[in-house]
Symmetry: C2
Subunit: 428 residues, 2 copies
């Protein structure tokens, strides 16, 4: 049997300890599958005295991740610290400079520096693997980069932030407002230290930008992801969407059209009986659409010790087996600069507004929509309450601009109470 | 760029022509991803004059698959003819003997001869790849063999015959009996020439046996798959199962316990709101459960030109990229002979029977169940019709033997009309 593959693990949080546990528990199984033993030679974390749920006594200890990355007895640098700058970036660069392959769970690092790191790695004949960075335990990077490599990808979609999906699901099932469930999630420890990474869509946007690069052969361009969080989603909209047969998800969509590369991470309505609509709680889902394969749906845990460590180990075992690919599935130097689409593809829209209880109010709204070139698929008016009438409209396909234009016309009708809500309906 | 990878395609049916089309349409995309061109040098089918939906004029033509397999200008032999014996087997063996890698969509061939072929390939340093053989376009072999390689697998499940799922779905939605929908499916061309391959569960059983070998490191043992087709499923059971919150699926399950390796391809009830329960029509689904990752669900088209060709191309591009693994994820010589479980794991059961409208009839059945050591989770008695009362029972966990024992006791009560129906409820 070949020589062991020696890992240095930087970061002993949930994921790092998960990796340690798998390697300790399944040494024989991994060696049988990889064709060689996989061992840990050194680990790294700031605080050595902290009580951790694994026996680390057999490993050399570094307090500096760069020092770990440069150790002669490390073949693969496993970066599970997180953060797009600082120690994570410095140690990843140091590992590549020292001729080590890198396995990382760090979506922020790659979303911001993926192109430079991939070029650095590939110039040196090294691999950067990041299955754990996207959708936790779901082997989606592998499915997209390898399994579907014969396809021209049409669209990639995903619910890739479990915390947001938990919040939206809990709002729906318990009938609680956003602020209440946000606070619950915070107390349960589901939120990042900066909650905007979750609820603002940034974390999921990082992931989407990595999938888009692989799918479309473009340089990672996180800055071009249209980001909109879930903070404006009301329990009213969740209920009304449900009445119309939809659920609201923080949905990432990447697709290429004549308009360019579209990357959106925004709340969308999806049919409640679609796989995306049926996804409840913290589970993740990625939908991959290719010209030959049609639609593939992958579902699984998007976070947690076991699932994320499973993804890290998939990458590690690939490297142990000698399976090596360019970071984004083709040489980084061949990735093209994406032309960002200025406008998103047209879609049906969900509109909710409150009208004054005046004769002809609804007709004025319908007229304004027609004048903006938008046709109505379904409209529903609810019973009047205190002189106000809630109205729901599902439009036929329209651009975001057309919808904004229509909404500004609504304002001129004099029958509108407050601001209308407009949420895109993604056709899945 | 490296030298082209040269394919010889044996079989110009749906899948073979699908592969030709992808290579013709996406030559540049594939070369960019694979790092080298992928070209077809020769093809093979019996009837050259047949009109096929692709331009084959640029390829050498063989009428004998063995001759194709042995051509000096073929690097990879793509076997998409089908059949476990005859030309498929002979040409695959010839390809390996001639030092060619093999990509195949042939589940029957591998279910029957996988061990011998894998040993032959690995002794010569060659690869046999078969993503297209299981669940069509879903990259499940890759997910299981590579992505989840850090997991001890607990259970693998799947709905892997689209025709059966189409029939069961159509029976439910149209309220039509099995015989009627079977005939529809035949006329639509959904059924194999020997329909028992589909509705008898054989085709899906072949696939399950391949997944089990990878998941558990055991030799393929199709003969140990417990096979039961869908021919006995009645519209009554589909309706009653629905009333109880279940759907009936032809479900494959492979798992290892203290009893040994269990492989079943049988009709089962699954919760209607689970991913498996929600699967409608011809779509396939595979559920992979590992000790670290938890549950991963993969969903996609299980057949058809594009999806199956997509899977073939994933394997071809892997080979072009130099990604090579043992056929079943670890050396074939290290695979162990599975000890087949003599009895399946206990499960809840769905029982349906008709009782005579006599006082105490239901009590007698309940008593018989209790005497067989089976406790009742739910029981439902419907209105009497013509002196007969339909009764549904959902039991707590029981073995198949206990259920058979109870059913024989029912017979002795003298209140039973006809034979009871018993269907396992798989906990998903």
């Amino acid at each position: 049997m070949a020589a062991p593959l020696r890992l240095g693990i930087a970061g002993l949080g949930t994921v790092g300890i998960g990796v340690v546990k798998i390697i300790q528990r399944h040494a024989d199984l991994i060696a049988a599958r990889a064709g060689r033993p996989v061992v840990i030679t050194a680990v790294c974390a700031r605080d050595r005295s902290k009580n951790r749920d694994a026996d680390l006594s057999g490993y050399a200890w570094e307090t500096d991740a760069v020092a770990l990355a440069e150790r002669a007895d490390v073949d693969v640098f496993v970066e599970v610290m997180g953060g797009s700058e600082g120690a994570a970036r410095a140690s990843t660069e140091a590992a590549l400079a020292a001729g080590k392959d890198v396995v990382t769970a760090n979506k922020a690092l790659l979303a911001h520096h993926g192109q430079a790191l991939a070029e650095m790695a590939e110039a040196a004949g090294l691999a950067i693997r990041f299955e754990a960075a996207v959708a936790g335990g779901i082997p989606v990077i592998k499915a997209l980069t390898e399994g579907l490599a014969g396809n021209q990808m049409r669209r990639v979609m995903g619910v890739m932030n479990g915390t947001c999906n938990y919040i939206l699901t809990r709002m729906e099932t318990a009938g609680l407002p956003y602020e209440h469930v946000f606070e619950e999630a915070r107390q349960l420890g589901y939120l990042e230290a900066d909650p905007n990474l979750d609820v603002g869509g940034i974390d999921a946007g990082h992931k989407l930008s990595l999938l888009a690069a692989i799918a479309f052969g473009t340089r990672v361009s996180f800055d071009d992801v249209q980001l909109e969080g879930i903070g404006q989603i009301s329990i009213d909209d969740i209920r009304h969407a449900g009445d119309l047969g939809f659920r609201i998800k923080l949905l990432g969509v990447a697709q290429v059209s004549g308009r360019g590369l579209e990357q959106r991470m925004t709340p969308c309505l999806v049919p409640a009986d679609s796989p995306l609509g049926q996804l409840q709680g913290g589970t993740n889902m990625v939908v991959l659409e290719g010209d030959s394969v049609g639609q593939i749906v992958l579902r699984g845990p998007g976070a947690g010790e076991g699932p994320t460590a499973s993804a890290v180990m998939g990458d590690v075992i690939d490297l142990a087996r000698g399976l090596r690919l360019p970071t984004f599935g083709r040489p980084a130097t061949s990735l093209v600069e994406a032309v960002p689409a200025k406008v998103a593809a047209p879609a049906p829209w969900y509109l909710r507004m409150t009208l004054l209880d005046k004769p002809g109010a609804l007709a004025k709204i319908a007229t304004a929509l027609g004048e903006a070139g938008i046709s109505i698929d379904r409209m529903r008016q609810y019973g009047h309450e205190g002189g106000h009438a809630p109205v729901l409209i599902v439009t036929h396909k329209a651009s975001r601009d057309d919808i904004s234009h229509a909404i500004s016309r609504f304002g001129a009708t004099g029958v509108l109470v407050g601001e209308p809500v407009a949420i895109r309906i993604e056709e899945v």
